[in-house]
Symmetry: C2
Subunit: 79 residues, 2 copies
């Protein structure tokens, strides 16, 4: 099974990388870009019996290793 995890900083947490990208875009003339947020995306293959089991397992992975649940939120997709 193919798992995809999207990890973003929680709303309200200052996204310094996003701010840097935003000011770089403005510097290049794209003044219309705003609210830039930079996140991570992790994809992997997972040996699991069914999608529900895979999703539960990936959520445990996120809480233990992939994301920092204090400041980051994540979304799991199983395909």
């Amino acid at each position: 099974m193919k798992a995809t995890v999207h990890i973003f900083l929680k709303p309200g947490v200052l996204d310094v990388q996003g701010k840097a990208v935003e000011s770089a875009l403005h510097g290049l003339g794209w003044d219309g870009a705003s609210n830039v947020r930079v996140g991570r995306m992790i994809t992997f293959d997972l040996a699991a019996l069914d999608a529900a089991a895979a999703e539960g397992e990936v959520k445990v992975m996120c809480d233990k290793l992939l994301a920092n649940p204090v400041i980051e939120s994540y979304r799991v997709e199983i395909a």
Copy 2:
């Protein structure tokens, strides 16, 4: 308009971050995880007239700033 850019290393380019995550997952007992790839996801609001114009503009942004087209591929979504 809301733009989302997914940026990944091209297939064949060594993904050291992905390898590190993979061995960490194995170390925690998840031996079923393989082919781990870590990418970036950038979301932002964009002032544009229509979706086609926005998509073209975001692709130029990717080529100029957001991605490294030599080793990275990207996918643009406009919503």
